[in-house]
Every structure is written in structure tokens, then in C-alpha cells.
């Protein structure tokens, strides 16, 4: 069992710093997902942990031991690459055993490990095929198998599903979760797809432009995003953001929307913050369409019927964009005006300046 700690890790390419000091503590056995938009430094971070990239500054600790200068081979980690990086000229069996041969493991040991892994990943049927003769999903599993046989201290995955089509992606992400449950190893998983992050992670690290924005369990991030970036990034469709003024009144704090509607905030969740310009965040599923009067109004501009749910796109009176999801099939047409009532427990408020959440943690 392996814990991985990052202490003020920095990375520069030439003069440009791309990772600006990240602290992260991944406890042993956890499935940790790095998520963030493209180019935010996820891969770089992962590759530094793997030892494929030098750490410019800071300490990288595996099981408490500093490994900054230690070569990739000696860190005892295994990595699954986005492109799988299977050796195309070797059979699946050879792909799996190559790394073991490198460390001069006894033949019998190699054989048993390879066969165990193959059985576990259900690739034992084509151990003698070349990677080129496998489908995308099968290759994926071979790549994982290659990591598994090495019995590494931790697994590193770099967007391992991005080359698969939608259906296979869903299936494989289930398999990886199952693998984690079975092996119990520490795993670090990089993706830019928040759905993957939500469904697989024990802990999610949200990165933006080389900085860690928030680190926590998936629902923690969903329910209590630390800032607007995390709030917008996690959850689909995206959270609605409406400009508002936070007015610290006598007994209560109210949020005054641009069209003058007021929404009271519970002190339980927000305490008593000072007045300031703010942004109200509300997820599309937390808006209820109601016939009675409601603080929010929307002119429908597009309706997407997915059968099981409907997504309504529209604009607020102040021309801010709004999205609402409704269960089932809706009769709402483009051009309809809707009254929307936000679920008061699901309202998020962010400082307009710093974009930090004002909710009490």
C-alpha cells in the first residue's frame, strides 16, 4: 500500500512555469482523479510522479521517501498511457511479460503472473495476438494488464479512455473501478471529463492552469464547490450563473438579482457575509418550473428532448443564459416564458471578484 505526497511541486519548461506549486496528499489505496481543462498540467503532474519528467522544485514523496532523483523504473509505479503504448510487434503475452523479463524474474513466476492478470482482465483468449489485431477496448485492457503484472505500488492512468467510443468508455470505466476495488492499490487517474471523474474517483483534484483548485470527494465538489471554476466544471449541464448583489440586511442576507428579484439566503449555509457584488449559482436540475410566481423567469430559446429528460435553454430577463432540466418529456415550446423556482438548499453564492464560494465550509 502506497501513499503519494506532493509538496509544493513545481515544473518549468525552459523559462515558462507550467505547474506552480502543488501540494497534494494521496493516501494509500485511494482512487484519485486529476481533472481539469486541456493544458492545465494534469499529464505533466502525472508524468512527474511517474518519473518520466524531472521535478523542477518541491518534493515528491512515495511512502514518505523522497523520490525526486530516482528513475522511473525504480519507483515501482505502473502507468497506462492514453495511446496505450503497447509494443506493436510483440504478442499480448510478450507485452505483459516484457517488463518482468527486464527485472529478470524467474520464468515460472512471469508465466503465472501474466496468466493471472490475463484471466482477471479477460484477455486470456488472445494472449498470442498482436495488439494490432485487437479492438480498442481489448487493447485498453492489455495496457492495464501490463501495469497489473508488475504488481506496482501504485497505478497511474493518463486519459486511458479517451480513444474509446462512448459506449465502450462507459463499460471500461466500470471495469477500472472494479479493478480498483479488487486490487486496492493507490491509483491516480487523469481525465478532462468530469463525468469520469465523478463516477470513478474517491477523491478528485481539480486543476486549472497549473494550480490546484480543489481536492475532495466527488459529491463534496458537486455540493460545495470552492469557487466558480469548480462549480462550472463539475456537473452537467453546467451550473447557471446569475449576477446578483449580496445585501447583508438586518435579520437576513438577501441576494438581489439584476432584475430586482430577491432571494433570501439561509444563515445556516452562508453565515452573515458582508454586502458585495456576487454571483448566484444554481444547477439546471435545481430549478423547478412552476406556474405560480417565482424569482426567476426564462424565455425558452431551445428545447432538447432526450426522452427521459428535457433540457430547456433560455435567457433571463436580463439576457443571462439559463438552462433548466426537467424530468421526462416536456410540452414546453421554444418561445414559452417559464417561472423558475430555485431549490433554496442548492443555491451557491460566489464573490464576484475572487469567484470564491461564500458558503460556510
Amino acid at each position: 500500500m502506497t501513499s503519494i505526497q506532493l509538496k509544493n511541486i513545481k515544473k518549468s519548461y525552459g523559462k515558462t512555469e507550467v505547474i506552480h506549486g502543488i501540494d497534494l496528499d494521496i493516501p494509500s489505496g485511494e482512487f484519485c482523479v486529476f481533472v481539469g481543462p486541456s493544458g492545465c498540467g494534469k499529464s505533466t503532474l502525472l508524468r512527474m510522479i511517474a518519473g518520466l519528467e524531472d521535478v523542477t522544485a518541491g518534493d515528491l514523496l512515495i511512502d514518505g521517501a523522497r523520490v525526486n532523483g530516482i528513475s522511473a523504473a525504480k519507483r515501482g509505479l505502473a502507468m497506462v498511457f492514453q495511446s496505450y503504448a503497447l509494443y506493436p510487434h510483440m504478442s499480448v503475452r510478450k507485452n505483459l511479460s516484457f517488463g518482468l523479463e527486464n527485472i529478470n524474474l524467474p520464468k515460472a513466476e512471469i508465466k503465472s503472473r501474466v496468466e493471472d492478470a490475463a484471466r482477471m482482465l479477460q484477455i486470456d483468449g488472445y494472449l498470442d495476438r498482436k495488439p494490432g489485431q485487437l479492438s480498442g477496448g481489448q487493447r485498453q485492457r492489455v495496457a492495464i494488464g501490463r501495469a497489473v503484472v508488475r504488481e506496482p505500488r501504485a497505478f497511474l492512468f493518463d486519459e486511458p479512455l479517451s480513444n474509446l467510443d462512448a459506449e465502450l468508455r462507459v463499460a471500461t470505466r466500470g471495469e477500472i473501478s472494479a479493478l480498483h476495488q479488487r486490487l486496492g492499490n493507490t491509483m491516480i487517474y487523469v481525465t478532462h471529463d468530469q463525468v469520469e471523474a465523478m463516477t470513478m474517483a474517491d477523491k478528485i483534484a481539480v486543476l486549472r492552469a497549473g494550480r490546484l483548485e480543489q481536492f475532495g470527494a466527488p459529491l463534496e465538489l458537486y455540493n460545495a464547490p470552492a469557487n466558480m471554476f469548480v462549480a462550472g466544471f463539475i456537473g452537467s449541464p453546467r451550473m447557471n450563473f446569475l449576477k446578483a448583489g449580496l445585501i447583508a440586511g438586518a435579520g437576513q442576507t438577501i441576494l438581489r438579482l439584476q432584475d430586482g428579484q430577491d432571494i433570501a439566503l439561509s444563515t445556516d449555509r452562508f453565515g452573515r457575509p458582508a454586502s458585495r457584488p456576487a454571483v448566484m449559482g444554481i444547477r439546471p436540475g435545481d430549478l423547478e418550473i412552476t406556474d405560480s410566481d417565482a424569482p426567476l423567469h426564462m424565455q425558452v430559446t431551445a428545447v432538447e428532448q432526450l426522452g427521459s429528460e428535457s433540457i430547456l435553454f433560455g435567457t433571463s430577463p436580463c439576457d443571462e443564459e439559463l438552462v433548466v432540466t426537467a424530468r421526462g418529456q416536456t410540452a414546453v415550446r421554444v418561445g414559452d416564458r417559464l417561472n423558475l423556482r430555485p431549490n433554496p438548499d442548492a443555491i451557491h453564492v460566489f464573490d464576484a471578484q475572487s469567484e470564491e464560494s461564500l458558503a460556510l465550509q
Partner: protein, 352 residues
Amino acid sequence: MIAEMAAALLQAQWLYLAIGYIAIGAALTRAQGTGAWLMGVLGWPMELAQRFAGQGPQPYLFLLPNVLVFGLFTFAPLFMNMGFSATEGSSILFQDRDWAGTDNLVRLLGETQPDTGAENREDDKFLRAVTDTAVFVVFQVPIMVLFALITALVLNRDIAGRGFWRSIFFYPVMLSPVVVGFLWTLILKRQGVLSVTLMQWGWIDAPIQWLTDPGWTMFWSVFVYTWAHLGFYMLILLAGLQAIPADLYEAAEMDGTSPWRALTHITIPLLMPTLLVVFVLSLIKAFQAFEELFAMQVSWISVVAYIFETSGLRGTPTTHGLGIAATASLLIAAFLGLLSVLQIALSGKGAR
């Protein structure tokens, strides 16, 4: 000078034909645009054809000029060689040549002369050329492929000034074979720098005939030929190396693979298809080796040189030289054809 150049090209009939062609095109296509106007106009027969006959014949029209040139200047000569091979006489006019059937083959390979019944010498010469060429090929090809590979591997490393080094090694490819031969002759002739320098260093006592000494001539043939062509194959191998995904090496690194094992177990196997192409191409080229060797006046005769000399392309032709050479050239062409079929078959398998 400009006027001279213009005059050289503008021989009247060509000029009028070209002007007519472009004028018709300009009228027909109403091409617009300035820079590319000529290209728009050039293709008017093709556009006309498409208007009347549709898209079907277009590919043939695109092929036509090239195939015409090939047909006239590559295939027609090859067929003429077949003709020469089947007829005898010293003339290059078919009406002055008599039917010979397979006589030329007998003259080339037979033990006795078909005309006199005397012992035939030509077969010895031809076989000598073939065996000498074979020796050359056997040494030259592996050595060149090996060094091309080493060079490509070195240049594929993250080395300072890679582009510079790459072009340096390519430079000899840009030299004409005659110049290559001349350059090295300057160095290798008996009184040349190499002999003298080695003597000054006390490594040899007397100047060595590098190019004609039977012990050295093959060495230098191989050396110079490799020198002149290495860059080309190096470039192909380099492209092959760069096509190997970098993440394979990272995966190997994670797998704890030593650099040597990475070379032997990953690089070389993955480069195999390219290596094969390089191997066969250089094999074909080596069999065709002629111009550099001819320019250096090495003391052995390659197959192509044999054909060149026998056909009377240099010096005065012998009575049946043309037919014999044509026969030999057909044999060689057939052999090289076989090689390339082999290549296609092998590379087809390599590509899986």
C-alpha cells in the same frame, strides 16, 4: 545570356505550338487570377474532355504525359533491347540485323561459340562481372545499412544541431557520381594524399594503388559507394525512427528497460519494415552500381559496366556486342525485377 537562353529553347516549331496551345486555353477557360493563370490555362484539354466525356477518362489523361515519356524513353528502349537480344550484327538498325534467336544467350553464357564452335570466352567475363558484383553487393549493402542505421540512431537522439548533422550526412547524395568518383580518385590515386600521408606517418612503406590493387579496390569501391549513398538511406531510416511513437519508450522506461534492450527489443523490431525497404532498395542500387566506379576506374568490372562496355557504348562495338549486352541487360533487369517483387511481397508481409 538571357537572349541565348531564350533562343536555345525557342526553336520555332515548339514556340508556335506552345503559343497556340496557350492561346486556345486562354480563350476556352477564361481563367482568372494572376499568379496561377498559366496553370489554369494549361489544362484546357482536360477540362474540355471532362465537359464532353465526364470524369471517367480523366485519370488516364492525367497519366498520359508521364506515361508517354516513360513509354518512349524507358519501355521502348527496353523492348529494343529485347530486339537486340534476339538479333545479331553490329548495327543498331533492326533492318541491318539478322534474326539470331537464342544465339546471343549462347554467346553470353554458352561454353562454345555458336558461330565457330570455338571456346567461348564471353561467359567467363560475364560470370566474372556477376561474381565481382555479387561480392561488392554482399559487402556494400550490409555495411551501408549498418552505418546508415547507426547514423540514423545517433541523429535520432536529442543531439545539439540535429538538422545540421542530418544535412551534412546527406550532402554526398547531392553530388554527381562522376564528381564523387573524381573526388575520391584525387585522394586515392597512387600519388594521392592518402598514400603519402600514410607513408609520412610511417604506416606504409610504399604508395598503395588503392583503386587498382586487387586487395584494395573492392574495399574502396564499397567505401566510396557507401559514402555517396549513405545519406539517403539514413534519411529514410530516420523517418522510420521518428515514426516510432515516443510513448513506447516511456512505457519501456516505466518497464525498467535498459537502453540496449530498448534498442534490440523495441527500436530494431519496429524499424524492421523500414530496414527492409532500405535493404532491398540498396540491394537494387548496388547491383546497378556503375557511375562512381567507372569514374574511379576501379580494377573490377561491375555487371552494368560489363553491359556498358560490351554494348559498344564506349569504344568501338564488337560484332555481336550489342546483342550480347542486350541479353545480359535483360537478365539483370529480370533479376532486379525479381528482387523488387520480393520486396513488395516482404514489405506487404511486414505491413501485415
